[in-house]
Every structure is written in C-alpha cells, then in structure tokens.
Amino acid sequence: MAEAMARFGKKQLVVAARLSSGRCERLGFKRVISLRSEGQRGKCENLNTPTNISAYNSLKPPSFKLDKGQRQKDHVLKKPRNISAYYNLKSPSYKFDALEPYMSKRTLEVHWGEHHRGYVESLNKYLAKDDILYGYTLDELIRVTYNNGNPLPEFNVAAQVWNHDFFWESMQPGGGNSPILGLLQQIEKDFGSFSNFKEEFIETALTLFGSGWVWLVLKRNEKRLAIATTTNAVTPLAWDDIPLLSLDMWEHAYYLDYKNDKARYANVFMDHLVSWNSALARMARAQAFVNLGEPKIPVA
C-alpha cells in the first residue's frame, strides 16, 4: 500500500469502494482499478495491469454447456475482497525545509505529518462506517456534510483535509511579493490597492477570535474579491464561494515558530510565503464559473 501511495502520491484517488457490484452501480461511480488484493500487497507493478493477475489469466468466455462447478471456476473478473475507499494524504509540492526560515521544517513535519495525516485517517475511518458518503469527491463531501450550517461529524475532518491541502498549495518557497496580471487588477479594483488589501488581510487575521482561517475569496454573486474568515473547519466552499488563498490561524500553524506572535506570522506569510502563482491559477479557473467582465452588449 505504501508503494502504491508513493507511486500515485500526487494524485488523489478515490478507490472503488464496495465489493458487491450491485452497490457500485447504484451509486453510479466508476470502478477504478483495484490497487490491492489479498496476498498482493505492495506489488503494484503497473497501473494498467491489475494486481490480481490470476483473475485475468483465467479470462475465458463463459461456456453455456459447462456444469455449475466449472462455470463458477471460470468466473470472469474475480473481485478482490478487501478494497475500501480512502482519501490519500497529498504531500506539499515542496520539501519540508523549503519554507525555512519562515516556516520551519519541524512545523511542517508536525502540521502535515500529524495534524493533516490525523484528519485524513479520521476521514477514512468515518467513511469506512458510512455507506451513504461513498462516491463523493472531497468538494462534494464537504458541501453535503456541511448540511447548510448543521454540520455532520464528518464535516470537520473532511473540511480540514481539504483546507490543509489548499493551504499547502497557497504557499511556496520564495513566495510573497505581489500578484501580477489580472489578479492584481482585480485586487486593485476591489480593495483600492495591493497594500490596502495586504493590510486588511493581516488585520483580519489578527482580529480573528479562536481557531479559524482567513481567506481571499471570489464571491460568486457579487462578482468580486473579498476577505473572509471562518471558524474551526468551515470553508467558503460550503456556501459556494471560490477561495483563492488561505491562511491557517489555528495556533498549531504558528505556535512552534512564533509562539503567540500572530502579527509576525501573518506578516511573514504575506511577505515571504504566499503563492500568488497558485492564486492566479485558481483565479483563472474561477473565471470559468464567474463572469467578472462587463458584458459586451453591442450598441446598434
């Protein structure tokens, strides 16, 4: 399993869940190639050939003249028995010490390796219990378990998995500076200037009470950028806005490096860590869903 995860590490796979095929069809998701079966752990040679070789070797068209025993023996596509759905722990696209000295290797080791991993494992444990939640992508799972403000217990862990994935991508080594191109234009349009935005973002981070996140979101209905805060695990995905950047203001995100000095942490994030490249990419994608330009209505 570890090998498989290393090989497919960057992609997040939802491996086909249940065993009885009837269930799979009812839920309507594609059955992805099984990654393991009993006795074949860790032997994933190639994504294209399944691990349960024996099933394929005995692939013969069923013969109608055979007796029952023979037919059972030639049963096509012997299904592996112990597949379960799982969400993979995606690793950041940079090494743990790449963000030094602004975010230490130790912080990343604990934050990613223990907190984030803990959330992923809890999520998989929840999913192992509850069939209804199979088949959703992570985004959909968050929306469903948010339950319009009355979150189900899976919400916290699912949302935190997503939030942390998003957070690692919102940072990069050599980050900071300022955005460029269309994102800069939109920020200037909605906040006045980039330095106004930066000030507002940092102030919002400092006045947040308790644990939470600070976001730069693109609001779908108002068609503009805004700064949003959420408590605990809540994410703007839950009310259908499009997040572009996030800053983790839970104490575990900065305590090892900055102790209680939130101001320094927020400033360092803005000056040295934030990845405007990923914000730009997310903005470009968001424009497929939100039309920010004025409609070009011809006059005569």
Partner: protein
C-alpha cells in the same frame, strides 16, 4: 459628567480621567507557584508564555475594550457599545477563565493531584460514580472540543449538582448557564499544551490531573453549597 468634562478641559491625563469616572482596569494576577513548579505535567516554558504573554494580552485588550465601551456609553453611542461586546466577551472571558485556571493548578508538593476529600469528594462520587469516571468524562469531552475552548467541572447552584460542560473560545462558563459556578477549568486551547504535547491533546489531559488543585475546588464548592 461635569467633573469629566472639567478634567478634559484641564488636560488631565487619561488615566486620571479613568479613575475620576470610576473605570476599574485589570492587571495580571501573580501565580502562587513558580513557572517550573508544575513540571513534568506542564512545562515551565508553556506556563511562562501562557501567563506572561497570552493572559497579559487578554488583560491589555480587555482594558482597551472597556475604555472604548466607557467612552461609547458616555457619548450614548449604542452601535459602538454593542459592537464591542464580542471583544469584551472574548478578552474579558479570557481574563476570567485564566484567573480561575491558575488557581486550579498547584505543584504536587503543595497538594496538586491529591483527590478531593470532604463534601466535594462525596458529591463527585454521587454524580459520576467515582473520581476516575469524572476524569475520564472530562478528558473525553476536552479531547472532543473542536478548535479552541475549555472543559469545566461546574456546580449548578440551582439544581445543586455537579456537571461537566465545555465552552468554545474564551466564553466564560456563565454563557452556558447563568447558575453555573466553575470549580475546575482546563484550557484546551492549543497554546496550553502545544510546545510540550504537540497535537496529542489526550496526553495533556491525562497528565494535567497530576497538578490539579482540588483544595481550591473544594473551597468554592463548600462556599456555594454549605452543608
């Protein structure tokens, strides 16, 4: 009111003005023990940061908010007065909760961790079965708090019984029920344990019982619930 405006025209410094208008500000209470006295349950580093930085920040911001509130009330500015309520609940609650917390802790040499005797001990056995069961319940609830908050052993004055409650952020216990008196409060904000226990909050909760000051809790209980 006249005295206040008189003081302003004279250019009297604001702290004197505050005293003239009777605004009570708060200062950081001292601990009854050294920072390192609670080791190894809670490290000296954490105690020092927790007391000198976190608690002090709550007090500073609480005083600031009170000043602003006082101004707003004097001017009759209702919307500002209401807007300040969340800052007051947060920072004031932080001050109140932490003041209780320091008294809830004691080094083992001075009785920390010793089981409660007397009426509180009987009440615990009656309400929860045994001290171990109470500890298990509080640890479970404390570990389950999402994000930041506190877990409390409280006395319900009206119903005359002990309850275990949790509050979010720095909400004081009275926000859960006006007749609740806090006996033991455990801070489960990450700053209370992160440097030592990282993300393993259950370990922190298990170990903190070794330095809990039951004597203080018994005193409060006997005061509120005299035999």
């Amino acid at each position: 009111m006249a005295l206040r405006t008189f003081a302003k025209t004279l250019g009297v410094p604001s702290r004197v003005q505050q005293q003239l208008r009777g605004l009570q500000t708060f200062t950081l209470p001292d601990l009854a023990y050294d920072y390192g006295a609670l080791e190894p349950a809670i490290s000296g580093d954490i105690m020092q940061l927790h007391h000198q930085k976190h608690h002090q920040t709550y007090i500073t911001n609480y005083n600031k908010a009170l000043e602003q509130l006082d101004d707003a009330i004097a001017k009759g500015d209702a919307s500002t007065a209401v807007k300040l309520q969340s800052a007051i609940k947060f920072n004031g609650g932080g001050h109140v909760n932490h003041s209780i917390f320091w008294k809830n802790l004691a080094p083992t040499k001075e009785g920390g961790g010793e089981s409660p005797h007397g009426s509180l001990g009987w009440a615990i056995d009656e309400s929860f079965g045994s001290l171990e069961k109470l500890i298990a319940k509080m640890n479970a609830e404390g570990a389950a708090v999402q994000g930041s908050g506190w877990v409390w052993l409280a006395l319900d004055k009206e119903l005359k019984r002990l309850v275990v409650e949790t509050t979010a952020n720095q909400d004081p216990l009275v926000t859960v029920g006006p007749s609740l008196v806090p006996l033991i409060g455990i801070d489960v904000w990450e700053h209370a344990y992160y440097l030592q226990y990282k993300n393993v909050r259950p370990d922190y909760l298990k170990n903190i019982w070794k330095v809990i000051n039951w004597k203080y809790a018994s005193e409060i209980y006997e005061k509120e619930c005299p035999k």
